[in-house]
């Protein structure tokens, strides 16, 4: 035959609870009430952590900050599927999932305050420091996933990226390597509709990011990223698959960055009120609250006590943050190499003197 089909592929989208709280009972994941509640708790923690960070920034107590507001469902739905030992390679908007795997809030705040010590996660926490060069960390996630495969481990690696990250060459190379070597890696893409000011429609001509996995014959799914149960379910399927098959998987969460890109940004320059309102109605927390309330799992009293518990926790963490002794000037030379070359010794001496002079 002159013309024959040599490839056919498709991509699915998963959404379980819609933004008015309607859902299809049989699609609801089989989770205990505790777990269902835990998802809510995680989201609320993230939201409150975030609000505190914005406040601290406004008061000059931390530096530039990138809000995760709106993306709590993505990071919570994933979190519940991770187990100890799984390895994260986050980008700069993953505070939520980082908290969820046990990184103390004061660490995260400290990084945004401009203190490298915030990036020093304790033994047993498998998470790289957030990576700033967009997309670059996806390759690290591939490499870790390859290591886990080569060492026959049960753990997986998760690489995070935004819609913008999918345009960088590293996204392509990360997926290609992962597929060729069967990396135990989940590519978790939060498509929050914007890369700073660039809307998704100008980032790529494709209707989805999930379809980009077809280039690598990699499994993928698009999920409503403001529907925590859908994210939970898709993540579970993906992670079960990766653990069992030792092959990579891509999840695209369709969500919305409800805040400025960072505190240095002014999103009214490029987004309309209407658009923002449209998405406000789809707030992942409100949406899930309706669901939980309808199920009798959440009520006002519970919500109130949860909120004040979290509030207290955050205040404690901020206190730890603000009681940290200042970092030492000599820290800037001491971690560059495993030993100090002669010129860093010279520079260190200078810094030691500075330190003394400054008290």
């Amino acid at each position: 035959m002159a013309r024959s089909k040599i490839f056919e592929g498709f991509v699915e989208r998963l959404e379980i609870v819609d933004y008015e709280g309607r859902y299809d009972e049989k699609e609801i994941p089989k989770l205990s009430e505790d777990s269902l509640f835990k998802l809510y708790e995680l989201m609320l923690k993230m939201r409150m952590f975030d609000q505190k960070a914005l406040n601290l920034q406004r008061q000059g107590r931390i530096s530039t900050y990138g809000s995760l507001k709106g993306q709590e469902a993505c990071q919570s739905g994933l979190a519940l599927n991770l187990k100890k030992g799984d390895f994260l390679a986050p980008s700069f908007r993953e505070h939520g999932i980082m908290m969820a795997i046990g990184i103390p809030l004061h660490n995260i705040y400290a990084s945004w305050k401009g203190d490298e010590r915030g990036n020093l996660f304790s033994e047993g926490i498998n998470c790289l420091p957030p990576s700033i060069p967009v997309g670059s960390q996806l390759l690290h996630a591939t490499g870790i996933g390859m290591a886990l495969k080569f060492k026959n481990k049960d753990e997986i690696a998760v690489g995070f990226g935004g819609d913008g990250a999918t345009s960088e060459g590293d996204f392509h190379e990360a997926l290609n390597f992962a597929s060729v070597f069967g990396a135990r890696t989940l590519f978790f893409i939060q498509n929050n509709q914007y890369a700073i000011s660039l809307p998704f429609a100008k980032q790529t001509n494709a209707r989805s990011i999930a379809q980009k996995a077809l280039s690598y014959e990699m499994k993928s799914i698009q999920v409503d990223g403001n529907d925590v149960l859908a994210v939970y379910k898709a993540s579970k399927e993906a992670i079960d698959y990766i653990r069992k098959e030792s092959k990579p998987y891509l999840i695209e969460c369709v969500t919305y960055r409800m805040e400025n890109h960072t505190t240095s940004d002014d999103h009214t320059k490029y987004r309309s009120k209407e658009e923002i309102e449209f998405w406000l109605k789809r707030d992942p927390i409100e949406r899930y609250k309706k669901f939980l309330t309808s199920k009798g799992i959440l009520n006002e009293a519970k919500e109130k006590s949860l909120t004040s518990e979290i509030q207290k926790w955050i205040e404690e963490e901020v206190e730890i943050l603000e009681n940290m002794p200042k970092p030492k000037p000599t820290d800037i030379v001491d971690y560059v190499y495993s030993d100090l070359p002669w010129y860093l010794k010279e520079e260190r001496e200078f810094l030691e003197k500075e330190e003394k002079n400054n008290g």
Partner: protein, 328 residues
């Protein structure tokens, strides 16, 4: 040029872009967030509204893509002005810049000159996250085929950019982001040019030469003031162009003063100070009374904001270094 107005560096660059786009219909502006948003530093503000999305192009988030397609656009008759959002993010574009932008003219024996300006905000002092503070001129200066320009004030910023936009070579245009809006200066409203390749003596002096560029020009002038109080008159040179270096102005000054310090934010090892020190001892060994001193960033990654002040060369370090050199 009688008609002037007081504007900042950011405004001066913005004005240059407006005037150059008006003059040259093949000039296009491209990069991440340069359109509707006007750039994260608002340097391209208003261009999108005036010239539309065909000439002010918001690109996908891919630096190699920006520079690589700009090469094609240049070959196809345009003169692209690319913005790399922060100099630190030039890394993914280095293959395109070093292997192609710098080499097409030579490779094609002159047939395909690359007319392109790559704007890159550089330097510390704005308290950002990692990778938003570096001064990465070294690999660009080491690569034949690029010219590298770095203004320190509004007048030069506008005049140098307008020159760059008429040059038939690719130009890296480094913008000192810390002082984008730090001060205003009288700048002619009209179109004018400042010659590429010429340094400027911003303060005359007979005892020692301070050589620098970008944001540290002002720090160096401050240091010169302090030195005055100690009885030493420092001459301060603003390089303005980093390649080609204005060797004449440097040598003339050093031959007069006999002493020199170079100030820059990049790490010391193979920072531009190394080249300048090497050149001075090469061409004026018998005139120098003390070693050329390098007052620079340390040989470490640029620290996060809490330790940034210890990294950056400040007035005190410059004064101290100059005094050591004076008392050598």
């Amino acid at each position: 040029m009688g008609n002037t107005e007081k504007i900042t560096i950011a405004q001066a660059i913005n004005q240059a872009l407006f005037q150059a786009m008006e003059k040259d219909e093949n000039l296009i502006v491209m990069g991440e967030d340069v359109g509707k948003d006007g750039g994260v530093f608002r340097v391209t503000d208003g261009l999108y509204e005036k010239y539309g999305e065909k000439r002010v192009i918001d690109t996908p988030l891919a630096e190699s893509g920006i520079i690589g397609t700009a090469i094609g656009l240049s070959v196809g008759g345009f003169r692209p002005v690319c913005e790399i959002q922060f100099m630190d993010f030039m890394y993914p574009a280095l293959n395109q810049i070093l292997a192609h932008v710098a080499r097409y003219r030579n490779r094609s024996r002159g047939k395909y000159p690359i007319r392109m300006v790559i704007r890159m905000p550089f330097g510390g002092g704005i308290h950002p996250p990692e990778h938003h503070s570096e001064s990465l001129e070294t690999p660009l200066l080491h690569t034949a085929g690029l010219k590298v320009v770095a203004p320190s004030n509004p007048y030069d910023a506008k005049g140098l950019l307008l020159s760059a936009l008429e040059t038939d070579d690719p130009i890296i245009f480094m913008e000192p982001k810390k002082i984008y809006r730090a001060f205003r200066e009288d700048v002619p409203k009209d179109y004018y040019k400042v010659e590429i390749g010429k340094a400027k003596v911003v303060k005359e002096g007979k005892d020692i030469t301070i050589i620098t560029f970008g944001a540290t020009v002002r720090t160096s002038l401050d240091a010169a003031n302090s030195l005055s109080k100690e009885g030493y008159e420092a001459e301060v040179i603003d390089l303005r162009t980093l390649n080609p270096l204005d060797i004449e102005t440097i040598l003339k000054s050093v031959e007069k003063t006999g002493r020199a310090v170079v100030v820059h934010e990049a790490p010391k090892i193979l920072g531009i100070g190394a080249e300048i020190a090497a050149l001075i001892q090469e061409k004026a060994l018998l005139s120098i009374l003390a070693p050329v001193k390098r007052i620079t960033g340390f040989d470490v990654p640029f620290p996060l904001p809490m330790l940034e002040e210890y990294y950056l060369p400040n007035k005190e370090r410059i004064v101290k270094g100059a005094l050591e050199t004076l008392r050598y």
